[in-house]
């Protein structure tokens, strides 16, 4: 049973409670971001947009960023979905261990994880050693400093963000539904497509949205694992600001990246609404 305060009094006191955080977000988040947008539209800065659009390399970098983000998202989905199902069927103790294994990499510093991938993919790293030992290759090959390395590292770092929302929605599905589907004559495949997928679609879309949005802005992995060969927007922005001190251009690129991220986010929001319309709201119960 909920305490029903006197409505107005409660509203006022709650407003007092939420306002410090809102003031902080307003001053140190929304204001600077809006400022950035408006600055890029002021005076001569607006020309930067034309420059970006007309520059083949910049457009190439944007496309490259989107491509890498798409690859990472798809690979993570393929890895995470079966894993989520597997974890949801474990005993409580098994679940705890499994989530422990998922959360440790999530909570470990991105720099540590990136460094680990540099070791792993190094010329004298374990993967090269194993390939030589197996006789697949004769001499170490270059694994790091490549798009492969960037994608591998990003897939690793973002996997928990895909896994956890899917796991949340899968684990809420009542197991007896599968038995019921079987009992009603559905085979394994139709149980999967007609029961499991529809009931977990919200988690899948939440995971896809998180991974896609995060991978569009990733900086550390392309910077350290790409060896300068994997241009993405975040690197381009850092280069404009840090090396060329061209803050106006860095601002324009940031604004464009922000818009891309927001469009991506909204498309998935919209897709979620389409999928979930008329269906019992599984994820929020």
């Amino acid at each position: 049973m909920n305490l029903r305060f006197q409505a107005t009094k409660a509203r006022t006191s709650s407003l007092v409670l939420v306002s410090p955080a809102l003031v902080l977000l307003g001053l140190l988040f929304f204001y600077p971001i809006l400022l950035l947008f408006f600055t890029t539209l002021e005076g001569e800065n607006i020309g930067n947009y034309a420059q970006v659009v007309n520059s083949g390399t910049s457009m190439q970098v944007f496309l490259n960023t989107l491509r890498i983000a798409a690859i990472v998202t798809v690979v993570d989905l393929v890895l995470a979905y079966p894993l989520a199902i597997y974890i949801s069927r474990l005993s409580p103790a098994g679940k705890a261990i499994a989530l422990f294994l998922v959360l440790i990499p999530l909570w470990t510093s991105q720099l540590v994880r990136t460094y680990a991938w540099m070791v792993l993919l190094g010329r004298q790293g374990p993967i090269n050693n194993m390939l030589i030992w197996l006789g697949v290759i004769d001499a170490p090959i270059r694994l790091a400093n490549s798009e492969f390395a960037v994608v591998a590292g990003m897939t690793h770092i973002l996997l928990p963000y895909m896994l956890l929302p899917i796991y949340n929605s899968v684990s809420k599905i009542d197991n007896s539904l599968f038995d019921a589907a079987r009992g009603l004559g559905a085979g394994a495949f139709s149980t999967f497509t007609r029961v499991l997928v529809p009931l977990s679609i919200q988690g899948v879309l939440a995971g896809v949205s998180l991974v896609l949005v995060l991978s569009l802005g990733v900086f550390i992995m392309p910077a350290l694992l790409g060896g300068g060969r994997v241009p993405v927007i975040a690197l381009l922005i850092e280069q404009q600001a840090g090396s060329f001190l061209n803050w106006a251009m860095a601002g324009t690129l940031s604004a464009i990246l922000m818009v891309i991220v927001m469009i991506t986010f909204l498309i998935i929001k919209f897709a979620t609404r389409m999928f979930v319309r008329g269906r019992i709201d599984v994820a929020s119960t």
Binding site: P20, F29, L36, I104, V112
Partner: protein, 272 residues
């Protein structure tokens, strides 16, 4: 899980076997890269070779005796602690507000507070640099701490809102009925009962700040936080000191996480 009367068919055994084999490979993919760092950190030589030719603890010595590593670590701890205190304090009040009187608004307000999660850190860094350079806050540790507070807030709010929604508010009502003031009721009854959520939120806020590179890189000038020092080290001179630092961080995370998971008793997903 399966119907008691249905006998497992061979195909079912096979699909289950495949699922678990695949899952353990994914677990390996998640955890193995972290383990690779351990032998490297005890390497005797200075070259990145796996497995190392000889073993020593010299890279741990290097870390603990290097003024610049220790300074960077202390700075990161300072920034992290301040960002944690601020974000947990503001986030707690915010979560109280949206779980109490503002029910109809709470959805919108929560979305507003979670917005920093979807803005790429590079975009936020460029924005904050412009603002802070006008205010003369670039190159101050508290400037970084303030920016980190913004980045920590969404995590804190998610965890505390979930914790407070599970909490039975009649408890607080009862305390007030028994003679406590609202403040005393919150301190003595509400906070102890959402303590594990508060600790999880604080931990997540701290590592969010402690690991954050891009904002710290843009907003610091001459000095650097630990992630910046690590980034420069990897980029410029890559030696196993970074592996020693990594192992220390992983050990710290594992210990804290173990404690938190014990306290949350299976509600591990709350920490995600």
């Amino acid at each position: 899980m399966s119907h008691p009367l249905s006998r497992l068919k061979a195909s079912e055994w096979l699909s289950r076997g495949l699922l678990s084999a695949f899952s353990w490979l994914v677990f390996l993919f998640l955890v193995a890269p972290l383990l690779v760092v351990v032998p490297i950190s005890f390497s005797g030589g200075s070259y990145l070779r796996f497995p190392p030719d000889s073993y020593s603890v010299r890279w741990y010595e290097t870390y603990f005796t290097s003024q610049s590593w220790i300074d960077a670590t202390l700075l990161s701890i300072l920034v992290g602690v301040v960002a944690t205190i601020l974000s947990v304090a503001l986030g707690f009040l915010f979560a109280l507000g949206i779980t109490r009187g503002l029910r109809s608004w709470s959805g919108t307000l929560e979305k507003v507070a979670l917005a920093p999660m979807i803005v790429p850190s590079i975009v936020y860094s460029v924005s904050m640099y412009s603002l802070f350079s006008d205010l003369g806050l670039v190159g101050t540790w508290y400037g970084i701490a303030l920016a980190h507070t913004v980045l920590c807030l969404p995590f804190v709010i998610i965890i505390l809102t979930a914790g407070l929604k599970e909490y039975d508010i009649d408890q607080e009502t009862a305390a007030i009925g028994l003679g406590a003031s609202r403040l005393v009721a919150i301190r003595r009854i509400t906070i102890p009962q959402i303590r594990s959520s508060l600790l999880s939120a604080a931990f997540l806020a701290f590592i969010t700040s402690f690991d954050e590179l891009v904002v710290a890189m843009f907003l610091s000038s001459t000095f650097g936080t630990l992630p910046k020092k690590m980034f420069d080290n990897i980029r410029l001179q890559i030696d196993p000191t970074i592996a020693a630092v990594s192992v220390l961080e992983i050990v710290m995370i594992v210990i804290v996480m173990f404690v938190l998971l014990r306290m949350n008793k299976g509600k591990a997903s709350r920490l995600a």
